[in-house]
Symmetry: C2
Subunit: 235 residues, 2 copies
């Protein structure tokens, strides 16, 4: 990737494991031989991007044990998570320099493609931000009380991560007061007055939140693992 | 299922296979040991629902060969498809009696759960229609030219099939002139002046349109196949 600015990734993993019906938080569940979070980190580290991992404070010791056990030696910085995703990202930003580009990525999206990562950084270098999006396959309806109406799905996009931003602009945006409407970083950035530049995501880049997602991720990742342990998808 | 009305399912399979990068139309691709379309049919036939399969006319001979080869003996009616999904469904409706309930289902959704099927019929018996919907996991943006805006995803639902209707009302609705805005049966029914009743779908009920979908479907179906060849999901 030919980007002159310093590149960072904040990988946010705040899950407690309750929706996975498992004792272990979802970011630590094993996928193709190692915890999900290690796959997510590797996608960025592989590209020479510096890593900040945000984890709930009680999980940090366990994470270090896992890194030893799986011989996971990619260098990465660690910081405690906050009460919400917004506060976790804000903590992560506090570790970053004042300039450069930062990707904020869900720790439970291990199937992001190399192409999505490089494309988001490249476009954010020009536009100030880049947010990966994919078309919607199903029909979509908007509910309101007991009624609903069909939306034009051709105008809709499902938004993924990594969402990449100019560090200085994102830090400034995160000085805003928190509201529950901040469901992702793009919404924080947009509220600060910036336009959101959408770019192409990869449809396999699913968020692992329920047990079936893990089965699907395994099916998508497995065929490519033998060839190259870090290359998740043919690109 | 305790439904007093006659129950029908129109299973629409119009795929040509071009998006699957395979010589064979997607509805005929093998999933856990037999063509996708056979799984989809079995989900309904299993519940005592009468079946009409709509296929592009040039594929009907091949389908009959497949039924022989896989020893697929569920009784089902066949009819040629039309120029669009709308016209295919309309052809299917022409084979039905004037009364009862009909499910219209995508042939490439073999993972619909028994619970979704029975729930849609039960609620359609009361409401005149029932359409399965699931929540949206990702953030959603609506694009307009070069800009986009975030939507409140908590109000959005992804719409699946089977969509179940009172046969008399659906036949009447399909007398309307075709417009490209008719992306599913609910949109046709709604345009005819009826309210759409949403019910709970199952998230695994994905539409198989690209090769990765087939891998995911295989991963979701496989664990349940040994136990009972027709029971696709633990319910």
């Amino acid at each position: 990737m030919e980007i002159k600015q310093q590149m960072w990734a904040i990988i946010v993993a705040g899950g407690s494991g309750s929706r996975m019906q498992a004792g272990v938080p979802k970011q630590f569940m094993e996928l193709c031989g190692r915890p999900i979070l290690m796959h997510s980190i590797a996608r960025f580290a592989d590209e020479g991007i510096r890593i900040v991992v945000v984890l709930p404070s009680p999980q940090i010791g366990y994470w270090k044990e896992l890194c030893d056990r799986y011989d996971f030696t990619w260098p990465h910085n660690m910081i405690d998570g906050g009460a919400t995703r917004f506060h976790s990202v804000k903590n992560g930003l506090s570790m970053l320099p004042g300039e450069g580009l930062v990707a904020v990525h869900d720790g439970v999206r291990p199937l992001v493609s190399r192409q999505t990562v490089t494309c988001c950084f490249r476009e954010a270098a020009g536009y100030g931000c880049a947010v990966p999006a994919v078309p919607v396959v199903d029909s979509v309806r908007e509910v309101s009380g007991l009624t609903s109406r069909m939306l034009d799905r051709s105008a809709l996009r499902l938004i993924q991560t990594p969402q990449v931003f100019d560090i200085a602009l994102l830090k400034k945006a995160y000085e805003q007061e928190y509201t529950p409407a901040f469901t992702d970083d793009a919404s924080v950035f947009e509220k600060a007055g910036h336009a959101i530049h959408l770019t192409e995501g990869n449809v396999e880049n699913i968020k692992i939140t329920v047990p079936n997602d893990l089965m699907m991720a395994e099916a998508l990742m497995r065929p490519t693992m033998d060839r190259d342990h870090l290359s998740l998808l043919p690109e």
